[in-house]
């Protein structure tokens, strides 16, 4: 048996005409994923050089929803794109061609990097969105962030290399054969136009089947979304009190919120103390890195009021510590801009009911335009350093 040769793939559908057209949309998906991913990374930095904005409140909900939905749409697009160019995988490099062979080899290597990084991003992203972590050692956040740069870099290089071919393919009629491989002579089972329409349909269905996780009016349609959007107070739960190991500490009658100022406890506020402070109600979304989001009506005390009640001056970051003892988000920094925002609450109620244990009872942070992982639940203490 000999190795396959590009001419073994005879379908006219496997053409630059199809690859370029699908590639435009796939590239757009990757660019959106990259840009929104950078926003998410920025939002999670503990001390960003440029402060993350507190407005609009729905900003992170939109960017992260887009991130996950475009990632879903990219799956069928990438499958068709790779199918269209698959014969080129078997092209031989003529090693006698010297410098030319080196360039071709480098280009092939860059395609390998692009495909490997792109598949890695989609596979790990989709798994993470469904709270499935089939890897054992690497950090999803670090790996997904680093490989995003690799994927986008390889994509930019790929576009630079292929630019004349892309322009020629997009400039010509979809059925034009001038750019086809010499072996691509057999008519496909469908026309190129039909294949492209099928591809757009697949990407469209992928979007509709998942976008309801963040677009409320699509909930009934999104049959493959990770969540229905149901949950206590109309808000789903990412991590339960049981999973966080706070069942005892969060329900302890002796619970009180420690407010530390410059290292020493300046105030200890029981649940009754917190209820005695001025109460405020805000409509804010919980928007998770997994791409789902839900609007909630939260009531409680303003974080800035609590800080002031402890006698601390405003304008400083606040470190929020959870009762949860392990995990990367047990201690988070609430930047000064969020502390000062009147919509940032230590929430006691959701939808008019006391907070569910799984939503962070006795109190949780709810702030505008923040990733869900930073909306700390089961708050144990606030620390202000002035």
């Amino acid at each position: 048996m000999r190795a396959p040769h590009p001419d073994d793939f005879t379908s006219r559908l496997r053409s630059p005409a199809v690859a370029a057209r699908v590639g435009v949309w796939l590239g757009a998906c990757f660019l959106i994923c990259f840009a929104t991913g950078l926003v998410s990374h920025w939002a999670q930095l503990p001390a960003p050089a440029i402060p993350f904005p507190t407005r609009p409140a729905w900003g992170y909900r939109v960017t992260q929803g887009l991130h996950v939905v475009t990632g879903c749409a990219a799956v069928p697009l990438m499958l068709v794109k790779l199918w269209a160019v698959y014969p080129r995988l078997f092209e031989r490099v003529d090693l006698r061609a010297g410098r030319q062979a080196l360039l071709v080899g480098l280009e092939r290597a860059s395609i390998g990097v692009l495909v490997a990084a792109a598949i890695f991003q989609l596979a790990t992203g989709l798994a993470n969105a469904a709270q499935w972590y089939p890897w054992s050692s690497f950090s999803f956040r670090t790996a997904h962030y680093a490989l995003a740069w690799v994927a986008i870099g390889a994509l930019v290089l790929h576009v630079a290399v292929k630019l004349p071919m892309i322009r020629a393919a997009l400039g010509a009629d979809v059925d034009d054969e001038a750019l086809d491989r010499p072996g691509a002579l057999r008519a496909g089972a469908v026309s190129r136009r039909a294949l492209l329409r099928g591809t757009w349909a697949a990407a469209g269905i992928a979007v509709l089947a998942t976008a309801g996780g963040t677009v409320p009016w699509l909930r009934q349609v999104s049959v493959l979304a990770v969540r229905t959007g149901e949950g206590p107070g109309g808000v789903p739960i990412n991590k339960t009190a049981a999973a966080a190991g706070v069942l005892d500490t969060a329900t302890d009658r002796g619970w009180a919120l420690d407010v530390r100022v410059d290292g020493s406890v300046a105030a200890r506020l029981t649940l009754a103390d917190l209820r005695a402070l001025p109460q405020h109600t805000v409509d804010l979304p919980i928007a998770c890195v997994e791409g789902w989001s839900a609007q909630g009506r939260w009531s409680g005390v303003r974080v800035r009021d609590v800080v002031a009640a402890a006698g601390a001056a405003g304008g400083a970051d606040v470190v929020v510590t959870s009762l949860q003892e392990s995990g990367p988000f047990t201690r988070t920094v609430l930047p000064a801009a969020f502390v000062e925002d009147e919509r940032t609450l230590l929430a006691l109620d959701l939808a008019g009911e006391p907070l569910d244990l799984d939503h962070g009872f006795p109190v949780r942070v709810i702030a505008p335009n923040r990733p869900g992982v930073l909306q700390t639940k089961w708050v144990a203490s606030l620390e202000v350093t002035t």
Partner: protein, 137 residues
């Protein structure tokens, strides 16, 4: 190659190198090894397994299915295959946790079976219509 393309290509190399540097400096050797395994496995999974299954399926389909069914079956494969692969994490419900009923709380497998049946029915119907019309493409 024009200067603009060289510039764009250079930018791509820089972006990619930054990503490689991020990975190499923020993960230890064991973690990097697992990332490398995942990167390689993704390529093998597509280039050998997925591509191989599709190739075999197309060869089989061309032999087994009468001509009028070829076009609908091809389009069905594109839509059904892409959506199915995307849905693997929810279909397997691998991330489900007994303590969290708000997670993976839809009947994914039933939906997928229904989707598959509808797709098959659509292919069968479209092929039959084409056969009756006497079209062979």
């Amino acid at each position: 190659m024009s200067a603009a393309r060289w510039l764009l290509g250079g930018l791509g190399v820089l972006l990619g190198a930054y990503g490689a540097w991020l990975a190499l400096t923020r993960q230890d050797t064991g973690q990097l090894l697992e990332i490398a395994v995942w990167l390689a496995a993704g390529v093998v999974l597509h280039d050998v397994v997925v591509a191989g299954v599709v190739l075999a399926g197309v060869v089989l389909g061309r032999r087994v299915l009468p001509r009028p069914w070829h076009a609908p079956a091809t389009l069905a494969l594109v839509v059904w295959g892409g959506v199915t692969l995307m849905a693997v994490p929810v279909l397997g419900r691998f991330g489900a946790r007994p303590d969290n009923p708000t997670l993976l709380d839809r009947p994914y497998l039933g939906t997928w079976i229904a989707l598959s049946v509808v797709t098959l029915a659509a292919v069968a119907t479209a092929g039959a219509v084409r056969a009756r019309r006497g079209r062979d493409t």
